[in-house]
Each structure stands twice: as C-alpha cells, then as structure tokens.
C-alpha cells in the first residue's frame, strides 16, 4: 500500500512537471505558426497623398484632340468611259462589231462577229 502511494505521488510530481515543460515542434513548428512578421508596412498617409496627387493631376490635365490634316483636295472628278466610234457601252463593257468575209467556190459569205473591250476613261 505504501509503495502504491509513493508511486502515485511520484507520478503526480512527474505530471506536474510535464505540464510546465515547454514543447518544441522541430522543423514542423512553422505549421503551427500563424501570420507573418516580415510583411511590408503600407503607409496609409503616403498612399492617400498619392491618390490625392493623382486626382489633382487628372483634373488639371487636358485632352489634346488631333484634327486630321487637309487632304489632297478635290480631284479631277470622274471621267465618263467612252467606246471607240459608235460602239455601244453595255454594263461597263464596249461591244464592237467586225465583218468576216469568206470566199469560196460557190460565192462569198459575209459573217458579222461581235467582240467586247474595256472602255477608255
């Protein structure tokens, strides 16, 4: 009985000491840590002054509009297309006519042949 009491007392002493012992986590301790101590400090006043400066700068700024320069001016204007002689102009194409004469033993045959060409402008 006495031994049990001594053992129990010793166990309680150890338990008391253990509760006061600091515990180190080794390399994995960083997972327990929260937050950073190297974060840069944002100076609110400086940012505020910067924004005020930006507002003032934008308000004082002016917009310069670039007008297009003068062009080459009015040209000679459109020229009516013309065909040779009395050839008609149909849908932008001139149609001419020529005559082909064929001489054979029985007589002479005359065949009209039409051709097209682009009008002159």
């Amino acid at each position: 009985m006495k031994k049990i009491l001594i053992a129990a007392t010793a166990a309680l002493c150890f338990a008391g000491n253990l509760s006061a012992v600091e515990t180190a986590g080794g390399a994995a301790a960083t997972t327990t840590a929260v937050g950073t101590i190297t974060a840069p400090i944002v100076v609110g006043a400086a940012v505020g002054l910067g924004v005020v400066g930006a507002v003032v700068s934008n308000n004082r700024g002016s917009t310069t509009s670039v007008e297009p320069g003068p062009g080459p001016g009015p040209g000679p204007g459109p020229v009516d297309p013309t065909c040779n002689g009395s050839d008609p102009l149909v849908d932008g194409v001139c149609t001419g006519t020529t005559t082909t004469v064929t001489v054979s033993g029985t007589g002479t045959t005359t065949v009209p042949v039409t051709f097209t060409y682009m009008p002159t402008t």
């Binding site: 986590g25 960083t30 327990t32 840590a33 929260v34 937050g35 609110g44 924004v51 930006a54 934008n58």
Partner: protein
Amino acid sequence: MNVKIITLIVLFSTLISGCSGTYHAYYQTLKIALSEQDDAKLTLIEVQQSEVDVMLVKRGERPAAVMALAYLENNQHKWVSSDNTMLVMDKGRIKRTIGLDKNLLHLSNTDFDPLKFLPKHASDKSQTWLRGIDLTGDEYGYPIESKFSQASPDTIQALSLDIDAMLYVETLHYKAPANYLRVNKSWENHFWYAKNGDLIKSIQKLSPLSESLEITYLSRIARLSQ
C-alpha cells in the same frame, strides 16, 4: 414621399457615379491602403490544445503573428514564424534573428546578462551590463550599455486573463561614437515576470533604430491558468 424618392435617386446616382472611371480605382486603392489587417489570435483553449509552445509577436506596426517553438537547444529557445523567420532567445533575451530585413548576428558578453538572474536574484540586476552587437549590413561591434530599474507590479492581459506580474525596465544606451547628429541614443526594454518566475511578456528593441518586438508568451500564460 416625393422627397424620399428624390433623395434615393440622388443617393443612387452618387453611388453609381462612384463606380465609374478612375474614381472607382481611387476608392479601391484607398480602401486597401487604409484597411487594417487583423492580428493573429488564439483562444486559451486553442493554446492549451496546441502541441507546440506558441507566443504572440508584434513587430513594429505590423499585425501580431503567432510564432511556434521549434527547438530548445543549449538553453536557447528558437522560435519560428510561418514566413520562416527565427528568433533565437536566451532567458528571454533575443540573441539572434534570422529572416528579417535587418538581422542581429551576434550578441556578446551574454554570460553577464542580468536577465539570467531575474527575477530570483533581483539584487544582481543593478549592475551595468555592457555588450556588443553585430548587425547585417556590415555593422559590427556596436557597444550597448544597459541597467535595470527596480521592479514594479503590473498586470498583463492576455488570453482573456489578467495576470499579476512584476515589470522590469531595462534602460539602454547606445555607446558608439558618431560623426553625425544622432537621435534615439537611449531606449527601454520591458520584461514582465509572473509570480512563479516565468517571463510572460517582453518588449525589446535590438538597436536604437530597429523596430520593437512585443512578445507575449501564450503557452506559459496558459499554463499559469491550469
């Protein structure tokens, strides 16, 4: 009724106009710049259930972050943050930093640091402690002299607890000569000890121009409540 409708129309038009053009960009920029980031927070139960010791660190004006104890080597506590910075501490004194924009590389004469004798041997704290510090940026051997004041009772609030503590103030003097006008040659570090002698909070600066590190030892405070 008509007045209400007109007011609503004017208000709606104003809001709509705020969403257009550069005004919306201005609004968003200011909103981001002026928004306050929240401190990392843990409840008492979360700290008690944590398998690793944790502490809360507020560096300068940044939001507070939780750092975890990674290693206990040669009586030095090595705390790490989620962004892989490390604070190496000896009896609560920051001896080395890793991962900050400007790091403490070395602290000399640490065997005579009065913090090693606090709070049990408070009579030893009255002596002046002179040490040298090395910083990144080729800044070596800067002498700093410090002296602790008498302890004063104080109360620390953390994890929704009010803890009675004794506050020790360390007044530091930067002894390096300078060829130019220098301000902030003196500053103070603060250390709070619980009644059982555990350091539960400190505010320290590594050099006159460095940012302060406010450290609250959450796990130690949680153990006090058990």
